[in-house]
């Protein structure tokens, strides 16, 4: 039994199924991307109990009972999550393949509350690779997200 984006889903999975494969192949939630499948690129980043993790490096069976949030679970009542909106506003992507992972990573980073400087942002986002090189604008998204969380 997995909790994905607020819903309970019952799945029968082989133990060697990664959370990423469970999401994509079994639940057809293909927003979460498979890049390297080795925890190096961050395209598969999802939130588990509010913390960002690489879904390719964990077994789905090990996530039972935890709250998994994917890119599909971020918009509420037809409104984009502010970080999703900020990616559009800041033109923070080109091909978009890394974007779902980037967005989940930004939300996780803000939850952690440890990024204070631009260098912190760059360091704490180093687990998400963008081959189009949209980093400059991704950093602007993170800055905006951090400002918004401070204002709250």
């Amino acid at each position: 039994m997995l909790h994905i984006n607020g819903a309970e889903v019952k799945l029968q999975l082989a133990p060697w199924t990664s959370l990423l494969d469970a999401l994509r192949e079994h639940l057809h939630l293909t927003g979460t991307k498979k890049g390297c499948d080795h925890g190096q690129c961050g395209a598969c980043t999802v939130l588990v109990d509010g913390k960002r993790i690489n879904s390719c490096l964990t077994l789905a069976v090990m996530q039972e009972g935890k709250e998994v949030t994917t890119i599909e679970g971020l918009a509420k009542d037809g409104e984009l999550h502010p970080v999703q909106q900020a990616f559009i506003d800041h033109d923070a992507f080109q091909c978009g393949y890394c974007t779902p992972g980037q967005i989940c990573s930004v939300i996780g980073l803000v939850n952690e509350g440890k990024a204070k400087t631009l260098d912190d942002i760059r360091d704490l986002m180093s687990g998400n690779v963008c081959r189009c090189g949209a980093y400059v604008n991704i950093v602007k998204v993170v800055q905006e997200a951090l400002e918004r969380s401070e204002a709250r």
Binding site: P15, W16, S18, T58, L59, V61, E112
Partner: protein, 331 residues
């Protein structure tokens, strides 16, 4: 990934039972290294025991006035723990110098110590590697070895231990608490990892049926004079070419106690208490720092591509000692 059987345990005793006498059973916690290696057939356990439901996540003060880190505390929870940040900033910095936000949220403190080398040949199943396949030979010694060890190597293996956390733990004199079928024992951090010798396939002195339950930090945290310098090819998410963990206890400009541990240079965190003692009671000067650095690197041996690491390590140690002394921003 190859098929395996999977079970979940809720306590240490059952965990130990599950692997005792099982040739190819492994514990899984964060899974960030194990699953990675299973995907490329470098590790092929047939039975995985999920230990993440055991109550070993807490970080609390121990009897010695230090801290006890539960083996299943994540690297992120440890690095960002208020008591670790204030009393053991060296450990906090070292952990944050490694991996990424995502990986640190998954990886556990026990698992961090047990991660395998990142030697390219260990990962490349098309090439011989004594660590992966005992007796097959070492491809690195005469191969591309820029990242590999300069100290404590053997003719069978020149792999390095990749952990940053372990380097800080070595400087802090941590103790690793483990439980096996014969009961509990304590392994000092410097005895936890081994040198490769003629058995490079064995990374640590943890027995097959033993589980790490916690890591104890002694009271002394060197929070006034510490640094962790990590030199690498990019500023974030790269393994160390050379890293240096320093803890100094000062009395005026005299060194009362010095702790120095190196990472990225050997099969284990490299610490030489007898060389550290050269600084004891001495003035904190560049000349004295250089003497210690030279003592640390006595017998260092390059293998071609990694020759530069000997000089790099020497300079990094002097710089790290100066930085720990002045407490100017580390990088």
């Amino acid at each position: 990934m190859r098929p395996f059987t999977f079970t979940r345990v809720k306590d240490v005793a059952t965990a130990v039972q599950e692997v005792t006498g099982q040739q190819n059973a492994k514990f899984i916690a964060g899974g960030t290294n194990l699953l990675d290696l299973m995907k490329i057939d470098v590790m092929t356990p047939q039975h995985l025991v999920d230990i993440t439901h055991i109550a070993l996540k807490t970080i609390e003060e121990n009897k010695e006035g230090g801290l006890r880190l539960g083996a299943l505390a994540t690297n992120a929870a440890t690095a960002y723990h208020a008591l670790v940040e204030t009393r053991y900033p060296l450990l906090s910095h070292a952990i944050l110098a490694g991996a990424t936000g995502q990986l640190r949220n998954m990886a556990t403190d026990g698992g961090n110590l047990l991660q395998r080398t990142r030697c390219y040949y260990f990962y490349d199943t098309d090439t011989p590697c004594n660590k992966r396949e005992p007796g097959s030979g070492c491809s690195a010694i005469k191969g591309y070895n820029r990242d590999l060890a300069i100290l404590g190597t053997s003719e069978h293996c020149i792999a390095t231990h990749p952990s940053d956390m372990a380097v800080a733990l070595a400087a802090l004199d941590a103790k690793v608490n483990v439980t096996g079928k014969d009961g509990d024992r304590v392994i000092p951090i410097l005895e936890f990892h081994r040198l490769p010798g003629d058995k490079p396939h064995i990374d640590t002195n943890l027995k097959e049926d033993e589980i790490i339950t916690s890591i104890d930090l002694p009271a002394k945290g060197f929070a006034d004079h510490y640094t962790y310098i990590k030199l690498r090819d990019r500023a974030s998410y790269a393994f160390a070419l050379v890293s240096v963990a320093i803890g100094l206890e000062m009395e005026g400009n005299t060194v009362k106690e010095a702790r120095i541990a190196l990472g990225g240079v050997a099969h284990k965190p490299w610490r030489l208490p007898q060389a550290e003692a050269l600084l004891q009671g001495k003035e904190a000067t560049k000349a004295n720092f250089t003497k210690v650095a030279e003592a640390y690197l006595e017998g260092a041996k390059g293998y071609g591509d990694n020759d530069f690491k000997i000089e790099l390590a020497r300079r990094a140690m002097v710089r790290a000692l100066e930085q720990a002394l002045s407490m100017e921003a580390a990088s």
